[in-house]
């Protein structure tokens, strides 16, 4: 057994390779384009039925401690001086909410029944592009909530009754104008 270490290394490599193959086989395989098409179709159907949520992404800490009042002016929820710290807070993982024109707050949540979950500021959300955006310069086909603070967004997803007037929304897809990473 002079070569036991090579056998061990080979077995470890095969083990990892197998686990990837097994997961791949288990996953229901749709191409990226097919998945995006389904997401877009669902979004536009929901938008036509008025089932999407349209509102401004607002930063929770400054809203709840009264440092900012994005609810007072839907068109311009933050002044230039307020927006920068609000974004810093959001990237430090304070919660981001969706505030609609009628004043309802939506708290982005994971899917119902998911008991261990992560902060919803982090995951990538598939982005639905408008026809004009598709024809223009290439944009990311996903977004996360932090760079969207202060921007109007339209989200599609299951809405939960929530608590104390604040509703939950499990965001499946999102639509917005511009490119938050580069817009000044």
């Amino acid at each position: 057994m002079r070569n036991w270490k090579y056998i061990f290394i080979a077995l470890v490599s095969i083990f990892f390779a197998q686990s990837v193959q097994a997961e791949e086989a288990a996953a229901k395989k749709l191409t990226y384009e097919e998945r995006m098409k389904i997401i877009e179709d669902k979004f536009s159907a929901a938008a036509q039925e008025g089932k999407t949520v349209k509102g401004v992404a607002v930063e929770g800490n400054s809203l709840f401690n009264g440092t900012t009042s994005p609810q007072k002016n839907y068109e311009q929820p933050y002044s230039k001086e307020e927006l920068r710290p609000a974004k810093f807070s959001a990237e430090r993982n304070s919660k981001v909410f969706i505030l609609t024109k009628d004043g309802t707050l939506y708290y982005p949540t994971p899917r119902k029944g998911e008991s261990v979950s992560q902060s919803m500021n982090s995951p990538r959300i598939p982005r639905v592009l408008t026809e004009a955006q598709k024809k223009g310069p290439k944009l990311n086909t996903w977004a996360t909530l932090v760079p969207l603070v202060g921007r109007e967004v339209e989200v599609y997803g299951e809405v939960y009754p929530g608590y104390g007037g604040i509703k939950g929304v499990c965001i499946e897809s999102i639509k917005f104008e511009g490119d938050p990473q580069f817009d000044k």
């Binding site: 990837v20 997961e23 191409t31 500021n121 760079p147 603070v149 990473q181």
Partner: protein, 290 residues
């Protein structure tokens, strides 16, 4: 009188091939990550584990290689695999701890990597005083800062593989940390003077390093010194993308451009392997003559 540097056609060829190979490797690494994230995100962490095992085994295997060229070539691949696994481990940590994207678009794994800066400095401090380290930049610092009591390292290096892997990891780590510090809007910011400084300094140093690279005419040395050269150029690529002036073909999956890069990588891989095999044959034949 200043020494006249001899730049031969041969050294230009070795330099160009090495630069294309390292650049192609980095670009392919990026597009692989993007494609996994896009098409099969469920396998990404398993892929990271595989990269670790493959990287580790590859570095180990360099001990069986005799030539400096093969050791460096395989060592880079080993370092590349291990680097990949570190990025995936940080991605996993980011998900576990709920680290968000920055509002200027920086990814959670790199935001976390930024704060490994002190770990980086600690490792670098050790390297500055480690007698056997032959890095030109560290030599320069030792000389200028008068760090060493005695003479600097001499003697033969038996295996360049782990050294090259470590070089790849250290160089990549250093420049990621530097870029993340530059992009941090609470320190400098992507439009700050510091980012501009990094951009222009990287641009100038890239040409200087290319000139230095032209002094080598073997794949071992050329590949090793191409790592910092390409990584410094990569700073500019990253900064231009951050400014929105460049749509990286490996992020936005521009197949025509990627095909050229993958083609260049394939051709350069062929040329490197061909040359290393030829040198090996020549070495065996010359032994036979003796």
């Amino acid at each position: 009188m200043a020494k006249q540097k001899i730049i031969s056609l041969k050294s230009i060829f070795y330099t160009a091939v090495s630069l294309v190979w390292i650049f192609g490797l980095s670009a392919i690494g990026h597009i692989v990550m993007v494609l996994i994230e896009k098409n099969s995100p469920e396998i990404k962490f398993d892929f990271g584990k595989i990269c670790f095992v493959v990287g580790f085994v590859t570095i180990y295997l360099t001990r069986f290689l005799k030539s400096d060229g093969w050791q460096s070539f395989v060592g880079i691949l080993g370092g590349f695999g291990m680097w990949f696994s570190w990025e995936y481990s940080l991605m996993y940590a980011g998900e576990r701890m709920g680290v968000t994207y920055a509002w200027n678009g920086s990814y959670p794994e790199y935001r976390m990597m930024q704060w490994s800066v002190i770990a980086l400095v600690m490792v670098f401090t050790y390297l500055m005083y480690q007698e056997s380290v032959r890095c030109n930049f560290i030599y320069f610092l030792r000389r200028k800062l008068r760090l060493m009591r005695g003479v600097v390292a001499t003697g033969k290096i038996d295996n360049y593989g782990p050294r090259t892997a470590f070089e790849y990891i250290m160089v990549t780590w250093t420049f990621y940390v530097l870029l993340m510090i530059a992009y941090d809007e609470q320190l400098f910011g992507k439009e700050s003077w510091f980012t501009y400084l990094v951009f222009f300094a990287s641009f100038s140093v890239f040409f200087y390093l290319c000139y230095k690279l032209l002094g080598y005419d073997k794949f071992g040395a050329n590949l090793k010194y191409s790592i910092p050269t390409v990584t410094i150029l990569w700073n500019d690529v990253e900064i231009l993308a951050k400014w929105g002036m460049l749509k990286e073909p490996w992020v936005h999956i521009n197949w025509p451009i990627m095909s050229v890069i993958i083609g260049g990588f394939a051709v350069s891989t062929y040329l490197i392997i061909n040359d290393l095999r030829k040198r090996k044959r020549e070495a065996i034949e010359s032994k036979d003559v003796i």
